[in-house]
């Protein structure tokens, strides 16, 4: 407190941000506050907490100190003013949407999104009477042309899942802001280690923290972060700026300024949707974030070597990794991702569904499962699993063919990963 020293390194912040030694006990590791509720000092304090006049704990559906430590850590790494954690990445997205949308609104989203997100947007938004258009992540003029008076959000992924398409966040945010619309980015695949979308103009960032942030495949979770830069009082967002009937007519943006959207997200949306993160999951994910930069460095190094091996194989049609992509995509990788394409990518086997299935069956070090971003290497066949609910046209739009295989490259030794893949390809 008295010192003027500032510690700004990314590794340092990954280890320390959000987690102070416990003031009462001195515990150095993050304590797991496995409690539903908190004893109030006195009735006045209780009232101040519920009125949001003082930062205080009331009930773990809405806030928890262990979850708070994780929220602050990720917010710090992304350069956000704060974050709110949820039970899953999709719960986080639902809440981000619920907080700023109302019936009659319109959303423009990238075609290159995770299949579960496409399904969520298409069906959940329709039930809420919110219109939706999908636009090409590589043709930003298309987004501009789709803007309507009631458009309330642009939404894309830094690195599309599983297509690997990299979004030009800076240009897209400029198009959004020129129309007083916020840009929401799912940064799950890049993680703040590779890219911090808010530095390029994104207003809201969401994560499935289940993936690289947690990093060990132990816990499902999500987080919504906000830059604090978007002017919610620009006349387009009465749902955020006007007196809220769901919180005794509080005007969230006028009262809390840069914290307004997040306060509403927590005090109303999390309270009402109820998809809170458990303290134990927050503990495990927070432990994972401590080693995020170390793991990501190995993940992306291995991914590049594995992609190189696959591109040289006669059984592989195409490798959808940035090194083998268009010059435009390579430039975007340089601009946003230090030249990397992340550690999750697809390749197309020669042949189709049967060959894909045979290949996956032959692997011994890659685990066949529906997750990514684990320290362990993972493999899946999207057309029959994660993207199964999509039509052929939607599959094509998402860059997925019948023989497409998605890899999540782990932090094992690359020569072992390549040996396993070589053996699998020989079995096809």
């Amino acid at each position: 407190m008295d010192s003027k020293l500032e510690f700004n390194g990314f590794h340092t912040r990954s280890v320390h941000a959000g987690a102070r030694p416990d003031a009462v006990t001195g515990s150095r590791a993050q304590p797991i506050h496995q409690t539903t509720s908190y004893v109030f000092e006195d009735p006045e304090s209780a009232a101040a907490y519920f009125n949001l006049q003082e930062y205080g704990n009331t009930y773990s559906r809405i806030m928890n100190p262990t979850v708070g430590a994780l929220e602050e850590r990720i917010a710090n790494l992304e350069g956000a003013v704060g974050g709110v954690a949820f039970a899953s990445g999709l719960a986080a997205q639902s809440a981000a949407l619920f907080t700023l949308l109302q019936p009659g609104d319109h959303v423009i989203a990238s075609k290159s999104l995770y299949g579960g997100t496409i399904t969520q947007l298409k069906h959940l938004l329709r039930k809420l009477s919110v219109d939706l258009d999908f636009a090409d992540a590589t043709n930003l003029d298309e987004w501009k042309g789709l803007i309507r008076d009631n458009t309330k959000l642009f939404f894309g992924e830094t690195i599309g899942n599983p297509s690997g398409v990299i979004l030009d966040i800076e240009i897209l945010s400029a198009i959004a802001h020129a129309a007083d619309i916020p840009l929401m980015i799912d940064n799950t695949f890049a993680t703040p280690y590779l890219c911090r979308p808010m530095e390029w103009g994104a207003d809201i960032v969401v994560h499935s923290v289940t993936k690289f942030l947690g990093g060990h495949g132990t816990s499902i979770g999500g987080v919504v972060l906000e830059s604090g830069e978007f002017d919610w009082s620009n006349g387009r967002f009465p749902v955020v700026s006007e007196p809220s009937p769901a919180y005794h007519d509080l005007e969230f943006h006028e009262t809390f300024g840069t914290f307004g959207y997040l306060m509403k997200l927590r005090a109303e949306t999390l309270r009402d949707l109820g998809a809170c993160m458990s303290p134990f999951n927050a503990f495990l994910i927070g432990l994972g974030v401590e080693t995020l930069p170390l793991r990501m460095s190995k993940h992306i190094e291995n991914a590049r070597e594995v992609a190189q091996f696959l591109s040289s194989s006669s059984q592989v049609d195409k490798v959808h990794y940035v090194d083998y992509s268009s010059s435009e995509q390579k430039e975007l990788a340089q601009k946003y991702l230090s030249g990397s394409g992340g550690a999750v990518f697809c390749f197309d086997l020669k042949g189709g569904r049967d060959e894909g299935s045979k290949f996956i069956n032959s692997l011994q070090l890659f685990s066949h499962l529906a997750n990514v971003g684990d320290a362990k290497s993972l493999v899946i066949h999207p057309a029959s699993t994660t993207h199964r609910q999509l039509s052929d046209e939607e599959l094509n739009d998402a860059g997925i063919g019948p023989g497409t295989i998605r890899l999540s490259v782990g932090i094992e030794d690359s020569q072992d990963l390549i040996a396993d893949l070589r053996n699998g390809l020989n079995e096809v």
Binding site: M1, P21, Y55, D231
Partner: protein
């Protein structure tokens, strides 16, 4: 989008030094419980500051005497915290200088280059487009309990 402010108006060292003061006049404090100014006055009082509301339309807020202007306050003021439209700031800055305040703290969106110049010339330091409640919560309070980014990296035990 929003009007830009200078980094020197949001210097963490300056902010911490303002927070270490004791007597805070809240100019434009409302008696309505849902207004931001009431939230901030309530919070500062709760956290041990001597809060002095300034509002010509009120006589008492939160049990504290409310004064029509800064110059009507009988005792010295350390920090003048402003919840008014930017056009009102130059006059408030002049009064801050006149009463010997140490800091002029302009809340979110209260941005006045002229007001800051007047304060600076009169020896009053300015903090602009920041919320005193949030900054207190960042450095001394519990903002981190609710997942906000305090930007504080600390591996020592709080004393």
């Amino acid at each position: 989008m929003k009007e830009k402010v200078l980094d020197e108006w949001q210097d963490p060292v300056l902010i911490r030094s303002a927070l270490s003061e004791k007597r805070v006049a809240v100019v434009g404090m409302s008696s309505k419980e849902l207004r931001a100014s009431y939230f901030v006055g309530f919070y500062l009082k709760r956290n041990g500051y001597d809060v002095v509301p300034v509002n010509p339309r009120e006589s008492e807020i939160l049990g504290m005497t409310c004064y029509p202007s800064l110059q009507d306050i009988p005792d010295p003021i350390d920090v003048v915290d402003v919840f008014r439209e930017p056009a009102a700031v130059p006059q408030i800055a002049e009064e801050s200088v006149a009463i010997g305040a140490k800091f002029l703290w302009l809340q979110f969106g209260v941005i006045s280059h002229e007001g800051v110049s007047i304060a600076t010339e009169g020896g009053v330091k300015s903090i602009v487009d920041r919320c005193i409640k949030i900054e207190h919560a960042r450095y001394l309070g519990r903002m981190h309990w609710l997942g906000f980014n305090t930007e504080q990296i600390r591996a020592t035990r709080d004393r």
